[in-house]
Amino acid sequence: MIETIVDCLIITKRQLLQLVRVPEVLIFAIIQPAMFVLLFRYVFGGAISAGVPGGYVQLLMPGIFVQTVAFTLAGTAVGLAEDMQKGLIDRFRSLPIARSAVVIGRTLGDSTQNIVTLVVMGLVGFAVGWRPSSGIVKVTLAFFFLLLFGFAMSWIGVLIGLSVREARVAQNLVFISVFPLTFLSNAFAPTTGMPRVLQYFAEWNPVSTMVAGCRELFGTPNKFGATASSWPSEHPLWMSLIYMALIVAVFLPLSVRKYKNAASK
């Protein structure tokens, strides 16, 4: 057991070492969300009437945080697909280590990278007027929630990364699936402007519950959804926890199984 944990951490360390050796990767991972903050804050911010104290940026920041951690799965999927392509997964599989170590290590590594990204985004947000008003405990809790969500999403990435033939395919697959998910939500605009069907979708979308939960924890609660008193919109944090548990419960065993049977392309 201890051995397996150590193996996981060695794989995690490998990923962090990659960031040291090729810092450009981390720099771009930070620039992109920072750019989103600035674009949404100054391009859409004027057009969307927030109706909350402190203005649109209070609602925007939790949205961008969630979008960013949701995209964790892109890094996971592409990284693993590359390892597959290069035969590195074969080598790992020929080592006397637990089957779960490589994939758990990977998801932990991607989560660690999220810490850095979130801190930088928080600072950028602060610079453009974001002021969480709930106190240090709840703010910390919110960031913890975000990391947890990134970790859960990362497991979907594992399955994608091990299933595709090429890293580029993983990249595209993630983009076309996660991008709509983050926009068909309350992250950037109120859902009430959407067609009725999409409103229902947005209401049950894990991204929406995460965003609403984080807004609550940052001190700017914001009702959402087609039916004002639905369970997800009333209990966004609980709903998010349930989603995360479901994602991990489904994708962790599938991913480990996939890894076990993975064949190099």
Partner: protein, 318 residues
């Protein structure tokens, strides 16, 4: 003792109807080198993947170091090293990073992993490149590092899947030198190759494999003798072909084979050098000067063609 024993392995991949392995059996004596020689798609890599616990066979059984690969893969992984067709390394990390990481994953202590990395980098002449990312390495350097990574735990059994495919002649020579050293150190080696010369150079024993089956097995000399012994090849100017042919026939007492377009006369010989001298004397008396004359031993290419009816493809096409 047999370090590798495979019995009646079969494997059909779900997507293809063809059998990748069709009742393949082989064995490798401890401390010896077996080359699996065959063209692309003949089942070499599948065999290695099964023996290295990466793939389960549909039927049959395989023992490595006396341990069943499907029943106790974890124990097998403790005693094997695998170096695949592509350098399986983290390209963004340095050579040093890679070796220490793999050392730790083999459960060496931090200090032991570092010591082993230093030792291996030294041994494979990579010390100068140790702190450079792998992506700056040449093909030969990558392969050497990849091999080094498979030697971290001093494996009893080593699998090298096409260790020199894609390397330039110099890289190949270097790699051969390194493998030769290893073999002297007593490791049991299963090597796959499409290069006939490579099998000849490195292996004690060769198993020729085609369509998932071992179609011939023996030492390089044994395989060559299956296509016959030495032959004499003589090339003369066009106007002398007829006379030279007659001369060869009378001197050697066998009808030679003539390739008119190449002006080449070929005949089997039994007493090698002596026949050569007799032919040269006879030619000299008739004032025919050969453009080329040589005693040829059959190459493994000849063996392959005579066994399979087709030439070994040396170009990767997947």
């Amino acid at each position: 003792m047999k370090s590798i024993l495979a019995e009646n392995l079969t494997k059909t991949y779900p997507k293809g109807q063809v059998k990748a392995l069709d009742d393949l059996s082989l064995d490798v004596e401890e401390g010896t080198v077996l080359a699996l020689l065959g063209p692309n798609g003949s089942g070499k890599t599948t065999t290695v993947r099964i023996l290295a616990t990466l793939l389960n066979p549909d039927s049959g059984r395989a023992l490595v170091g006396g341990i069943d690969v499907t029943e106790h893969p974890d124990q097998v992984r403790q005693i094997i090293g695998l170096s695949g067709q592509y350098a399986a390394l983290d390209e963004t990390l340095t050579g040093w990073d890679n070796l220490t990481m793999f050392g730790r994953l083999y459960h060496l202590s931090g200090t032991a992993a570092k010591a082993r990395a230093t030792e291996l980098l030294e041994r494979f002449s990579l010390t100068d490149a140790a702190k450079r990312p792998i992506r700056t390495y040449s093909g030969g350097m990558r392969r050497r590092l990849d091999l080094a990574a498979s030697l971290i735990i001093k494996p009893k059994v080593l699998f090298l899947d096409e260790p020199t495919t894609g390397l330039d002649p110099r890289g190949r020579q270097e790699m051969w030198g390194v493998i030769d050293e290893l073999v002297k150190g007593g490791v049991t080696l299963l090597l796959t190759t499409q290069y006939l010369e490579e099998a000849d150079q490195l292996a004690d024993d060769i198993a020729v494999i085609d369509h998932g089956k071992v179609i011939a097995r023996g030492t390089s000399d044994q395989l060559k003798s299956t296509v016959g012994g030495e032959r004499l090849e003589l090339v003369v100017e066009a106007q002398f072909v007829a006379r030279a042919t007659e001369l060869v026939a009378t001197t050697l007492g066998v009808p030679p084979h003539i390739d008119e377009s190449m002006r080449r006369i070929t005949a089997p010989v039994t007493d090698g050098g002596a026949s050569l001298i007799r032919i040269l004397r006879a030619l000299d008396e008739q004032q025919i000067h050969p453009l080329d004359i040589a005693l040829k031993r059959p190459s493994l290419d000849d063996v392959f063609i005579s066994l399979t009816g087709h030439i070994a493809e040396e170009v990767k096409n997947d």
